[in-house]
Symmetry: C2
Subunit: 159 residues, 2 copies
DNA sequence: GGTTCCGTACTCGGATAGTTGTTGTCCGAGTAATGAGGG
DNA sequence: CCCTCATTACTCGGACAACAACTATCCGAGTACGGAACC
């Protein structure tokens, strides 16, 4: 199980957008330079955040991306779900109903599979923690030097 | 992010081994028949559980697999880690140190990346839930009919 | 001088290849049962 | 009758392909700016 690196990119880009705090949209090229990422692929990833309503995009010259909501309203869970998709990591394929269980009466499977339930409970705890982390909270706990550095670099690139 | 289906297979097979409760090893062919799984590939997956010390294998004729520990000592986390590997789903590549952060002094990165820390916290909650679920607990909450069915089917196959 | 229009540069968005990881299959090494042969 | 030993069938374990997902790249649609031409 490996999480797509688009999650890391998305979170850092959202945080950078919050730090920059500009009304004007920030194009992909600037964001890519901030973290030395491949521009075209980053753009593709950010599209997922736009579809999820986390970012808003502006097309054309002077276009780019903006946070669609204030940082307090953007959670890690939002970003992870947007990039990775809404599906559960563990997918129950009901193998209990195959083989030995193939000819069992249907009422034996009324209750959901206990293994799937346990996995789901764990994933719920994971999601709960992710939902508790907002971008605003991240801004609080991060040293100001990082924010200043991003802003400096961004202004230098915008000149 | 998608969890390997080997996790589901491993958990169901461990549970079946616990239900069967035989001193003699159970070969892959029997386990594969219990859930209608591809035998060769299941064997490959069970090897991971052996390497992790969850199962013990017996080679040769009348060989097969056995639980290496009592069901109370086998957690979901053990199985997941054995199959999926010990790496964290989220992998921090320290992109904060690239691009804008490339020329920053090293002391700015003394503290671990806040984003990585938050992701790790969520994964810790996930692991905590997985570690709390033992095979023995799964036996308790599962209807007896399932256990009986597995045993019946296994004895019929062993004839 | 002000206004309109056109050309240009720029940016997002989706369609198109390359690479890594997961799934699936096969054959060899090793082991226990089995049956024959000899004592 | 009992013991020894070679044969046989069986099972795990790792090496070898097929497939899917992720990563990376390119080009087209659309937009705002800038400048020239005209009133």
């Amino acid at each position: 199980m490996r999480m797509s690196e688009g999650v890391e990119w998305g979170l850092h880009c959202c945080l950078a957008l919050a730090w920059i705090g500009d009304d004007r949209p920030v194009p992909t090229a600037r964001l890519a330079e901030l973290f030395d990422l491949p521009q075209a692929y980053l753009n593709k990833r950010l599209q997922a955040l736009v579809r999820a309503g986390i970012l808003s995009s502006v097309a054309g010259a002077r276009g780019g991306f903006l946070l669609a909501r204030p940082p307090e309203k953007i959670t890690f869970l939002d970003v992870v779900t947007a990039v990775e998709g809404p599906e559960d990591p563990f997918r129950c394929t009901e193998i209990r109903q195959r083989g030995a269980g193939a000819e069992a009466p249907a009422r034996d499977f009324r209750l959901p599979c206990g293994i799937a339930t346990a996995m789901r409970r764990a994933e719920l705890a994971w999601r709960r923690e992710l939902a508790a982390q907002t971008l605003a909270h991240m801004i609080e706990v991060t040293p100001e030097t990082a924010a200043v550095r991003i802003r400096r670099h961004y202004e230098r690139l915008s000149r």
